[in-house]
Amino acid sequence: MALIAMAAGFILILIGFYGALTNRNILRMIVAFTVADTGVNIVMVTVGYLRDRTAPILDNAVPAADAAARIIDPVPQALVLTAIVIGMGVTALMLAFAYRFYEKKRTLDITKCTELKW
């Protein structure tokens, strides 16, 4: 199970990077980045997963005393939760840039963006 998730994550990352590197359309690049983002998140959650253990929620079922032996590592989960939110912010920023770019240039072709190259 973990192996499948890990493989899926890496495939998503590769698809994302492939899309970002080969496309000229900004919107397609943004979609590709979000795909890669999702892949990274899956990989991270998978890395933190330990076999035969339960979710890191401390209650009657999992008392705090033996929690260390029974739950999976909560740090990657918290990290991914943050990464999802940050990913949304980054996507919004990229879309805002794309919108401004389209307003200025009337095109979504990234190769038309040459102002910083002289």
Binding site: F17, A20, L21, L116
Partner: protein, 658 residues
């Protein structure tokens, strides 16, 4: 101290509240609060200065550590200079900014408040971190102020130059501090005295520190930013930068001389040599300039040199135990700090009024302004007399004190040092005469004769606020010039905080008496002059007045602007002598034939430091970066690849580590 802190808070409030005030009242709101704050700060400093060398400590908690603000005699003196300069600058600036009704000015005024505030903090901070914080705040806020006319290419270049120069200075100061901290183990300035035991080490650290302060102060060869940034800034800012801000560099040198002392005689001689170079070469460069504000900027270099002469003499005095050199050299330097703030502010404000009226700073396009803007002309000429060191104004007083230092100190100094002091006196005299030459040029070409352009012909005096700011400085110039004794007594108190052999008060007393005599003579002279002038007008009026009529001129009615001396031709005899040394490029089309059709003479001043030090350095840096040009290909896919490669490398590094 409470007054001083209240002043700082009021100044901060001025910066914040103006942003919330609607635009028509914004400048007035800012000016009122800022002037009130500066008055409070000045009053606080005055209290400290009055109560002798007593120092008040005020420590308050900061998230990381304690920040100590202290007002001792030296700090109080600089706070006074900053406050007074700031008040005049704010009043003048309120009028000057009135000419930009379509600019919101929120950011500009906020930066202006921060600028003055940070200068006040620089001279009162007593630990490394707060000092560097205030220092950087001062550089950055003045950077924002310089970058006022942002569509102008020249202004942009000057701003970048200023930015780089200030951060080179910052790096040097930081290095000096860190060197001292390796010996003292503490960020408190007072602990730096621990380095005194190791003379060569203290000398190296002080030299690095002083190089940083010298960039701020504008000593040659560290002055490159100064003649660019001062003309680029709007005039109320250039007046403050030149009159007040560069003095924080002087403050730094004085503060660390006070704490660490003068470890070697060589250090004193280096300071003195740089000061002499700045004074003489600065004024020679000023003579070659055609841009009014650039000319004034080079005079700042010259006057920093004069202040440096006083400091250098005092440092030499501290090494060889020569009382008059310490007391009078230091007092002369400090008095010149105050005087330069007064007359340079006035001159820059006058130049701003001229620029506002005629829309050019090129003195070859001005002329005849004494008739068009009489008030500005009178104030500018007053400032020129003061800066040239002529009696009865304040420039004379501080240079007089410096000469007294040298005349009293030279006989007591042994052998070679006596010769150094005499040489210094000669150079100071040379500087004085060249400054006078330069200001006859500036005043003569700008204000006398007939206008050389239509814009100069339509010029008129500025409004009340600008004139009020200038008049305030003019009054202070007259006060220091005519009543020098109390001002000298005040700076002598500050100078006496340096380790002094013998009784400082007893040594200062005869000088105070001398200055009292000088003051009576000057007042008498002025009264006599006023009386004669009055009698002349009376007598002329009795004979039916003076009628102005056209001169019988063999056919032509009056001289045209083309027949007048130009600024270049006025100084060309001297430039023929020194121009080659200064990198002056001249271009002359000689008159030819019996009826010459057209002749022309043009001169372009080039700064040698710029040409041989800054430009090659900048070129080298540009070349090194051009080696990396291929990184920026313009291909987006390649940039993304950089990111992927970086992530892969980082991952591999972490994996390899575990």
């Amino acid at each position: 101290m409470t007054l001083f802190l209240a002043g700082i808070l009021t100044l901060l409030a001025a910066g914040v509240f103006q942003a919330a005030t609607p635009r028509p009242a914004r400048i007035a709101c800012f000016a009122l609060l800022a002037v009130a704050g500066l008055l409070l700060a000045g009053a606080g400093a005055m209290t400290t200065l009055m109560n002798g060398a007593e120092s008040v400590l005020f420590a308050f908690p900061f998230p990381l550590e304690t920040v100590t603000l202290e007002l001792d005699a030296l700090s109080a003196f600089f706070v006074l200079v900053i406050s007074f300069g700031g008040i005049a600058g704010t009043i003048y600036g309120a009028g000057y900014l009135g000419g930009y009704p379509d600019r919101p000015l929120r950011g500009h005024l906020f930066a202006f408040a921060l600028f003055i505030l940070s200068m006040l903090l620089v001279v009162t901070a007593r630990e490394v971190l707060p000092f560097l914080f205030a220092w950087e705040l001062m550089s950055l806020s003045s950077l924002v102020l310089v970058f006022f006319d942002r569509r102008n290419d020249e202004v942009r270049d000057a701003t970048v130059n200023y930015f780089v120069a200030m951060h080179v200075a910052f790096a040097l100061i930081l290095t000096g501090f860190l060197l001292f901290m390796t010996r003292s183990g503490s960020g408190e300035f007072s602990s730096f005295a621990a380095a005194t035991a190791d003379g060569p080490f203290a000398e190296t650290a002080l030299l690095i520190l002083f190089a940083g302060f010298a960039i701020k102060a504008g000593f040659i060869p560290f002055h490159s930013w100064l003649p660019k940034a001062h003309p680029a800034a709007p005039s109320h800012v250039s007046g403050l930068m030149s009159g007040v801000m560069i003095k924080t560099g002087i403050y730094g040198i004085l503060r660390f001389t006070l704490i660490v002392g003068v470890p070697t005689t060589r250090l004193a001689l280096i300071v003195l040599a740089l000061a002499l170079l700045s004074a003489v070469v600065g004024v020679l460069y000023a003579l070659a300039q055609h841009d009014l504000k650039r000319l004034l900027a080079y005079h700042s270099v010259e006057n920093i040199g004069i202040i440096g002469i006083g400091i250098g003499l005092a440092m030499l005095g501290l090494r060889i135990g020569n009382g008059p050199l310490i007391l009078l050299g230091m007092a002369g330097a400090l008095l010149h700090v105050l005087n330069h703030a007064l007359f340079k502010g006035l001159l820059f404000y006058g130049a701003g009024a001229v620029y506002r009226a005629a829309h050019t700073r090129d003195i070859e396009k001005l002329g005849g302004l004494i008739g068009k803007m009489p008030a500005t002309a009178a104030l500018f000429i007053l400032g020129s007399v003061a800066i040239s060191g002529l009696p009865p104004l304040n420039g004379f007083i501080s240079e007089f004190v410096l000469y007294l230092a040298m005349f009293a100190g030279a006989p007591l100094a042994a052998g070679a040092f006596g010769a150094v002091v005499v040489l210094t006196a000669g150079s100071l005299a040379l500087t004085g005469i060249l400054a006078l030459y330069c200001f006859t040029k500036a005043c003569g070409i700008v204000f006398l004769g007939t206008p050389r352009s239509d814009a100069a012909d339509r010029a008129h005096d500025p409004g009340g606020a600008m004139l009020a700011g200038m008049a305030l400085l003019a009054l202070a110039i007259l006060a220091v010039g005519l009543l020098p004794a109390p001002f000298f007594a005040a700076v002598a108190t500050v100078a006496a905080t340096f380790p002094f052999p013998g009784d400082a008060a007893a040594q200062a007393a005869p000088i105070v008496a001398t200055l009292g005599t000088v003051s009576r003579v000057l007042v008498l002279f002025l009264s006599l002059f006023a009386f004669l002038y009055y009698m002349r007008s009376r007598l002329l009026a009795r004979n039916g007045g003076v009628a102005a009529d056209a001169t019988w001129g063999c056919g032509y009615r009056h001289a045209t602007a083309r027949m007048q001396y130009t600024a270049s031709s006025y100084v060309s005899p001297l430039m023929a002598l020194t121009g080659r040394l200064l990198g002056l490029h001249t271009h002359l089309e000689r008159p030819q034939g019996l009826f010459p059709a057209r002749t022309a003479f043009r001169s372009h001043p080039h700064d040698l430091v710029d040409a041989y030090l800054i430009a090659p350095g900048a070129k080298l840096i540009r070349y090194l970066f051009s080696l990396l040009r291929w990184v920026q290909s313009g291909d987006m896919a390649q940039y993304i690849l950089y990111g992927v490669l970086f992530l892969a490398a980082a991952l591999a590094w972490i994996m390899g580590g575990t």
